[in-house]
Assembly symmetry: C2
Homo-oligomer: 363 residues x 2
């Protein structure tokens, strides 16, 4: 049997630097744990635009469809701000999500004990925080038609369409209930059913799916109140499920609560492929951080933890994922810190590659 | 000349209780400061539904169009959750906003010194915080067509439409720039121009309006990053301008940062009327809080500060507004607290009406 395959798309900004550390980790698992992967690498985002004039080449898209898992670094940078909407770096990412049909975006917001002080929130509010946000990722206002800027009378109008079918809501909800079953069996669904009909349908379908999960305690919250409650008392949540746009904002809000932005991974999962594995892409929650790119300052942990999620969700290697996560916790407990994890008076930070090396050592 | 007119719509939940305290304050200004108002009162939300079968009667709508300012308490409650979308309490509020064409919703997020400890954020992150969020209030996905739940093949689809014309963006932007000119001359506009064409048009129009305000330092931020930055370092902002839906979420997030939710007022302003005053409605940021309604526990300050905003923005009585705000600060500095402003071991809270009385005393 051939090895499972991984396509690495480092992308822009700090993407290539942090991905180099992930490769070390992948190699370690091949050499020491008999878990070899066939790894290939390609371009996405601005890097792809520079070479091909598009943020994702068709051949790259085809490769992504064939592999067992995609690992993505980050896309975007000021250099590309002037580009036309249709070829902006983000379109490459959105094309991957859409064409691979990665409908369930899992975004853990976890506060690492060693880092709780980095949160802007009081320590007791966030210490031990462990939320999972499930964001619908292939529909809603990100992809709905009609969309565009049109002439109307003697002015222009900008239009986007929020659009959710029952089956789109259902599969995202099901993914969230399944996760809740493996966690603390609490699910909160967020929408604006008080002002949007798409939110009414969302609430109705989530409620119906909930009948298949009687053990899960289901609640509903308006998304604006959701933002408030995340700030006020985030530990009230276990799993949250919400649509593409609310998920974008609420998951970023939740990520920032932890103070551990450079530490947060994500998984985007689709339907099972012929081999039983889900279509899957893994990426850190942080962006391309152009201000520190190329300086060896970036924290590779979010990207390495994204590979841990791949071990768990794509390759059924939960124990190996835990091994990797534990190694990272150990390194942090030892006081090893990249610059983003330090206060001004906390001594000398390690570089991106030193952090990678320390994690390999701990493994 | 007749007195300026105010229509009071207490609404549901704690609305009537907090509004009773506002009436005391209005009466005080009439008796002591020679500022008499013609005050009338009517129903909105669930209270209107109970009497008329609709959340806002046509006669009430007509009255709201005629008065100089509307003061609204809060709408909604679990009793009305089962109602059809078209007659839910929220529809009364949305009808007022839309038909009065109140396009600029001003939501200050201010952290009161005496209350900084109540924030879930660290004190140094929020102490002295003073942001103004300008939310577009009459367009976007709240009102765009097509909208509804439709049959499609053998399932249903929920649709809402985000829709912004150049002139709608322009007038909201102008209101925000005008405010920035009176404050610290910094404006941050938030959208998702990286994924939504309506966001591209938004950014373009705001930038163009900015040419009329060369003194204002204008920046743009994606709304998801905006949520992060609000949590990370809210004091970086002065005025924020954003659309109806992002404004709903981001302003609630900002409000919760302050720890002073029971203290935050808002103003919703439209075009000038024949008498030069803007169409205007004032309401607290908090909701109807059905869990504590009728118990005399609610904090009336947000609603009283909404009247202070009315003094400032509708009646050109900035000095009297400041007088009222100063009285409230004094009462807080004296340690007078409603239950929401106290920890479990902080002694005995005052009731809603005692808080009102203390403010009158301080005046
Ligand atoms: C880069 C951008 C297109 C993307 C989004 O809006 O989904 C990002 O913010 C995210 O959350 O992954
Ligand atoms: C009550 C509701 C319709 C309203 C809104 O969504 O605008 C509220 O959340 C607000 O922010 O004023």
């Amino acid at each position: 049997m051939s090895n499972p395959s991984i396509l690495i798309l480092p992308g822009d900004g700090i993407g290539p630097e942090v991905m180099a550390e992930v490769r070390k980790v992948i190699d370690w698992f091949g050499a020491k744990r008999d878990l070899a992967f066939d790894v290939s690498e390609d371009l996405v985002g601005g890097a792809a635009y520079d070479k091909h004039g598009v943020p994702l080449a068709d051949e790259t898209m085809a490769k992504a469809q064939e592999v067992d898992a995609v690992l993505l670094g980050a896309v975007g940078g000021p250099k590309y701000d002037v580009l036309d909407f249709s070829v902006k770096p983000e379109r490459g990412l959105l094309r991957l999500r859409k064409e691979m049909d990665l409908f369930a975006n899992l975004r853990p917001a976890q506060c690492f004990d060693a880092l709780a002080d980095f949160s802007s929130l009081k320590k007791d509010i966030v210490a031990g925080l462990d939320i999972m946000i499930v964001r619908e990722l292939t529909s809603g206002i990100y992809f709905g038609e009609p969309r565009g800027i049109f002439e109307e009378g003697n002015e222009r109008v900008g239009i986007n369409t929020q659009r959710y079918t029952e089956s789109e809501i259902e599969r995202a909800a099901r993914a969230a209930f399944e996760l809740a079953m493996k966690r603390n069996k609490k699910l909160c669904s967020m929408e604006k059913a008080n002002v949007m009909e798409s939110g009414i349908l969302w609430r109705e379908v989530v409620t119906r799916v909930g009948q298949d999960y009687p053990e899960v305690e289901l609640s509903h919250m308006y998304a604006d109140n959701g933002a408030m409650q995340l700030v006020r008392a985030p530990k009230q949540f276990d799993v949250i499920v919400t649509d593409n746009l609310f998920g974008d904002i609420l998951s970023d809000c939740a990520a920032m609560l932890t103070g551990s932005l450079g530490m947060l991974p994500s998984a985007s999962l689709g339907a099972p492929m012929a081999n039983g594995r889900p279509k899957a892409m893994y990426e850190p929650v942080h962006g391309s951080a152009p201000d520190i790119a190329g300086q060896g300052k970036a924290n590779p942990i979010a990207c390495i933890l994204s590979f841990a999620m791949a071990l768990r969700y794509s390759f059924d290697q939960g124990d190996e994922a835990t091994r990797l996560e534990t190694a990272i916790e150990k390194v942090l407990a030892d006081g090893v810190r990249t610059a983003d994890l330090m206060g001004p008076d906390d001594g000398t930070p390690v570089s991106t590659s030193e952090m990678g090396d320390k994690i390999i050592e701990a493994l």
